[in-house]
């Protein structure tokens, strides 16, 4: 048993922590996308990581937020607050906690990539020290915009599909996801401002995207780096971030492990 059972965090929505029982060296924070949830978006990720020896010294936080409310920038601010409140180890299951994590990996999917980047940009603005330990890993990021109709039709599961298909076109966050939106323009220009400077490595995310993604537009973003397996085939916008033992799809785990 490397990790304690799920501990419910009270920031965000249904945010959940799996604290390792040994002294933690790193923290991995997962940030879901549009209409995702803290854990379901990532499917077997949590159950696989808590039994994976490479993550035995890793605290794992699955951050959740109400993605249909607010704007991407607002969600970024809230994520920033969450990271700032939790950037030091403080597990109630350990008798003692070290002073800091040596690494903080932020893994984000789709809209979550925009939210995470806004949070990191905010951390630079606030001059938070912990940002120097951060690394971004993005799965099918939406930072070049999305096909809105497909986003709503395909991202909604089960019963959400019914009402969501009718009511979600009016949401402010949908405007943020349009390719020519003010939010995405701001994200790009603010990131570009740091090209080649001291914050360059913080903002150059490792990206895995899907060949022929039906929802987000695939293209380079600023100085992000595609992982060597990218673009990946035989996956969808939703399945790309879901590792599965059954079909031996463990690449998402390997990408994060390589950042530790």
């Amino acid at each position: 048993m490397f990790h304690a059972p799920a501990a419910y965090l009270y920031e965000g929505k249904n945010s959940t922590a799996y604290y390792c029982l040994k002294d933690p060296e790193a923290l991995v924070i997962f940030v879901h996308g549009f209409k995702g949830t803290s854990l379901e978006t990532w499917d077997d990720f949590s159950s696989l990581l808590i039994e994976h020896p490479s993550f035995a010294n890793c605290d794992l936080f699955f951050y959740g937020y109400e993605s249909i409310k607010g704007q991407a920038f607002d969600q970024g601010q809230e994520l920033l607050r969450f990271i700032n409140n939790n950037h030091k180890p403080k597990s109630p299951f350990r008798n003692r906690n070290p002073k800091m994590y040596s690494k903080i990996v932020i893994a984000a999917h789709s809209l979550g990539a925009i939210v995470a980047r806004f949070a990191i940009l905010g951390s630079i603005e606030q001059n938070y020290d912990w940002r120097k330990m951060c690394k971004l890993v993005l799965f099918a990021p939406a930072h070049n915009g999305a096909r809105i109709q497909s986003l709503i039709m395909d991202s909604l599961d089960g019963f959400y599909k019914v009402i969501g298909g009718i009511t979600m076109f009016f949401l402010p966050i949908i405007d943020d996801l349009k390719p020519d939106s003010a939010a995405l323009h701001r994200l790009r220009t603010e990131t570009e401002d740091y090209r080649g400077g001291p914050e360059h490595m913080l903002l150059n995310a490792s990206v895995l995207h899907v060949f022929g993604d039906r929802i987000v537009h695939n293209a380079p973003f600023c100085f992000d780096v595609f992982v060597k397996e990218s673009p990946i085939r035989n996956h969808s916008h939703k399945s790309i971030c879901k590792p599965m033992l059954i079909n031996n799809y463990l690449l998402p785990i390997e990408i994060i492990r390589d950042q530790l």
Binding site: A6, A7, Q149, V162, I166, F170
Partner: protein
């Protein structure tokens, strides 16, 4: 199961459900209020005899619900084989203090029957008599299902949209000062079931935030029921565990047999026809015909599956093994 692992599990249940703000507040309020048994009896009265109106009453009852939920979860975790005897002395002492209080007992035995706290009471009194250890099969698989159940349950109790919608299911209502009309269950379900009204009230646009919240609450609650049904089906080989899991939300499953439940199911049937309505021509025209057809087909299927899941959850026989355990 090693003692270390057992202690960690107990600690996680305590952190997640007992240290929860409202359960903790419920206990502290109970300690103060229980010194005056008449006042306690008034606050924990049956709402059918006299409606619950004041903010103080609503808050205290909500907090006590969270505290009783914690004891229900302890009971459920024993029946799932997730934890076992002995429970920590502090847990036993506090549970007895609350659950054996005559007013609280009336609340969860007669006014709003909850079998899980009753099982816990009996267990605390004489653990061997219930014979739980002989009846449960602890396993890693059941642990995973139980943890999934808790995560799902937690997602429901902490969701404001679902909370608002359940208030309607409980014959509650809101007054919307923008719309200047009362929002009750009938009104909300009428809107959900009508394309014309959904567009007229601009649902989703935050023009009327309370209405949006209730419509989304409806959608989330139906999805929640489907998730719950899926988990119960995974427990088909552990009937006592499944009975305990069913009893955890039995209040709402039984409510589905009453008028609100019929209204909900009627709305779902109306939604089958709503999926034929062409909303998409009113939005930017990226959507291909095949995508519209796919949405319609998948939406119809989702509604039908939701209706099947609700029928499954309404089956009170799922909870009987627990009732039988109590009566033995």
């Amino acid at each position: 199961m090693s003692k270390e692992k057992h202690d960690i599990k107990l600690k996680s249940l305590n952190l997640n459900f007992r240290k929860n703000l409202r359960a903790d507040r419920g206990y502290k309020s109970f300690l103060t209020i229980s010194k005056d048994s008449d006042r306690l009896a008034s606050l924990l009265r049956n709402h059918k005899t006299q409606p619950i109106v004041t903010h103080e009453e609503i808050r205290f009852r909500d907090d006590m619900d969270f505290l009783l939920s914690y004891y229900s979860i302890i009971s459920c975790s024993l029946l799932a084989g997730y934890i076992s005897s002995p429970l920590p002395d502090k847990t036993i002492m506090e549970a007895k203090e609350v659950l054996l209080n005559p007013v609280v007992k009336l609340f969860y035995e007669e006014y709003y029957p909850l079998y899980l706290p009753q099982v816990l009471c009996k267990y605390l009194d004489a653990p061997q008599q219930l014979g739980i250890a002989e009846l449960v099969n602890p396993s890693r698989k059941n642990d995973q299902i139980f943890e999934s159940l808790l995560l799902l349950f937690r997602s429901r109790i902490e969701d404001e949209d679902i909370d608002g919608f359940l208030f309607l299911l409980d014959d509650g209502g809101f007054y919307d000062s923008n719309l200047r009309i009362p929002l009750d269950l009938q009104f909300v379900l009428e809107i959900v079931g009508s394309p014309r009204l959904l567009v007229e009230f601009k649902v989703g646009s935050q023009t009327y935030p309370r209405l949006d919240s209730l419509v989304f609450g409806f959608s989330k609650f139906v999805s929640y029921l489907s998730g719950y049904a899926a988990l119960l089906r995974r427990m088909s080989n552990a009937t006592l565990f499944r009975a305990a899991a069913w009893q955890l939300e039995s209040y709402w499953f039984i409510r589905l047999h009453e008028k609100p439940g019929y209204q909900l199911e009627s709305c779902l049937k109306n939604l089958l026809s709503i999926t034929d309505y062409d909303f998409f021509s009113k939005n930017e025209g990226e959507l291909l015909q095949e995508e519209r057809d796919k949405w319609q087909e998948e939406s119809k299927k989702s509604i039908q599956l939701a209706m099947e899941d609700i029928t499954y959850l309404k089956d009170q026989e799922l909870g009987w093994p627990l009732v039988n355990l109590l009566s033995n």
